[in-house]
């Protein structure tokens, strides 16, 4: 749905994007995570060409945006919704007026506009609040208005620029739940950038980690979890890094109640002590990560057994 390749962008001497490729599949929620200054914000702005990349191409829904300019680009942008960290609502307009704005831009007639605005506000759970002013709303409600506005043009893609970063944890969860619902119900493809790992954990199907203007790692989260040495896995499961020498880190997917650990101890002549670990509920299902110290004569065959059982075994 979104295909970016070879994106480069620099401001003066600062390189913001240093050859970035991105592939977002139809209907998925794709999260780009990284610290501030990693280039994720520039990347997002390059997708709808708010920033024009110095090099590289961006294709959204089969249309190469980097080949467009002026009016054609404006038309193409109407098929891409965007929500913002600080909501970016017009304070001079009511809630309904804000949602109507993109419809006015598209030249939708007034009666049709009113009907559509009503529908959209209902969809985001703000039915009946159309007459309010944005400054009368809470942060979460403002973001809902932002989402309704972004959906006005029936976009195939929604870009989210740190949409939950200014919100408290409970509100963040409700906004993420709304995005997830829109993703499932409308088949909306969502590309979001965030610095919060929780966002990646709770809604994303795929992710990319950015640092220094480059993508360090990307792909479906389910696959990344099974990749040895994955940075994403390390970020999701906060265990002390680097792993102490001689320790073993086990990553397991599927039913977290499988008694693999006790099986190993019973089958092999090994002692096992747990150094740390946690289980996270990801969109791909539950994933556990356990750091253990394994000692005894049969340590090596025990690890082979764990591998056979489908666990990812990383030794330090």
């Amino acid at each position: 749905m979104i295909q970016a390749s070879g994106l480069r962008k620099s401001y003066g001497g600062t390189v913001a994007l240093d050859g970035v490729d991105l592939h977002v599949r139809q209907g998925e929620i794709y999260g780009v995570v990284g610290q501030s200054g990693a280039g994720k914000s520039t990347l997002l702005r390059c997708v709808n060409l708010l920033e024009r990349p110095d090099a590289g191409t961006v294709t959204v829904d089969g249309q190469e945006l980097t080949a467009l300019s002026g009016k054609e680009l404006n038309l193409a942008r109407r098929r891409i919704g965007m929500i913002h960290q600080h909501f970016a609502l017009l304070s001079s307009r009511t809630v309904a007026g804000n949602v109507a704005f993109p419809l006015e831009v598209m030249g939708v007639p007034a009666a049709e506009r009113r009907r559509r605005v009503g529908e959209l506000l209902e969809l985001v759970g703000l039915g009946g609040r159309g007459g309010d002013r944005p400054n009368q709303l809470s942060g979460g409600q403002k973001q809902r208005v932002g989402i309704a506005r972004a959906l006005a043009g029936n976009p195939s893609v929604l870009l989210s620029d740190e949409a939950t970063s200014a919100l408290d944890p409970a509100t963040t969860q409700s906004i993420l739940a709304l995005l997830k619902r829109l993703n499932t119900e409308l088949g909306l493809t969502i590309l979001l950038i965030t610095h919060e790992m929780d966002v990646i954990k709770s809604v994303c199907d795929s992710a990319a980690i950015m640092a220094g203007g480059r993508v360090e790692e990307s792909g479906a989260i389910a696959d990344l979890i099974r990749t040895p040495g994955s940075r994403l896995t390390r970020e999701i499961f906060p265990l002390p890094e680097p792993a102490p020498a001689g320790s073993v880190t086990l990553t397991f997917t599927g039913d977290p109640r499988q008694p693999v650990v006790s099986e190993v101890v019973r089958k092999f002549d090994v002692d096992l002590s747990i150094l740390g670990g946690s289980i996270e509920e990801l969109t791909a299902g539950p994933v556990g990560r356990l750091r253990v110290a394994l000692t005894g004569d049969e340590a090596a065959p025990a690890l082979d057994y764990l591998r056979e059982r489908g666990l990812l075994v990383e030794t330090a």
């Binding site: 708010l50 109407r78 891409i80 913002h84 600080h86 017009l90 304070s91 001079s92 704005f101 993109p102």
Partner: protein
């Protein structure tokens, strides 16, 4: 001078001042608003960056702002004759008043427009809005409270400028104060003029503040 003599004089002068301020405010807004918009739109990082044009406009504005009003009024007499066909009287004063206030107001408009959240403009661009739409539907409405505040400041400044209108026969309260209060030592007239001016400025400022507050939903 008796009260009965003073009232018609004050009445006429107030009316002349009101006329001069009203007309020049109208023309100032009509000319200064687009100029202020141009200063923002053509700026580096604006909606349509044209740095050379923006610098040229900025220079013209600065020249206009660096001339004291009384100098400007005399200096542009040929231009005034060209526009209204005469160089004396109330109508002739509106021309230099407008020329003097346009650069001032344009800068105030520029400042008000720059206060508009960049995010909001970018959001509109992301929605595929063109430049004209962004100016009409985003920049101007969002900056409206600031623009109204700018109009208020301009009106008060124009009331000040009109004091010099007597020099070219424009009349008004300033002229009254100079001719009677200063040249003829009629202290009562001086005091009355001061009171009327203070009251007018207070009313204008309060009215402007009220409208700006009503329009603001920040």
């Amino acid at each position: 001078m008796t009260w009965d003599e003073m009232v018609p004089l004050l009445g006429e002068a107030t009316w002349q001042t009101a006329l001069m301020v009203a007309w020049s405010t109208l023309f100032t807004v009509l000319l200064g608003l687009p100029l202020g918009v141009a200063l923002v739109v053509f700026d580096r990082g604006g909606l349509r960056p044209m740095p050379v044009l923006k610098s040229a406009l900025g220079m013209v504005v600065n020249v206009g702002r660096s001339l004291p009003f009384i100098v400007l009024m005399i200096a542009i007499i040929p231009f005034t004759r060209l526009v209204v066909g005469t160089t004396i009287g109330t109508a002739a004063v509106v021309v230099p008043l407008t020329v003097g206030a346009v650069p001032f107001f344009a800068r105030l408009v520029e400042t008000a427009l720059r206060e508009v959240d960049r995010d909001v403009v970018q959001a509109a661009q992301a929605m595929g809005a063109g430049r004209t739409t962004i100016v009409r539907k985003v920049l101007l409405p969002e900056a409206l409270p600031g623009i109204v505040a700018g109009v208020t400041v301009t009106v008060v400044a124009l009331i000040g400028y009109t004091a010099m209108a007597g020099t070219i026969g424009g009349g008004g309260l300033g002229d009254l104060a100079v001719r009677y209060g200063y040249m003829r030592f009629e202290t009562e007239i001086m005091i009355a003029t001061v009171v009327v001016l203070v009251v007018i400025v207070q009313i204008m400022q309060s009215l402007g503040d009220l409208v700006a507050r009503r329009l603001s939903h920040k």
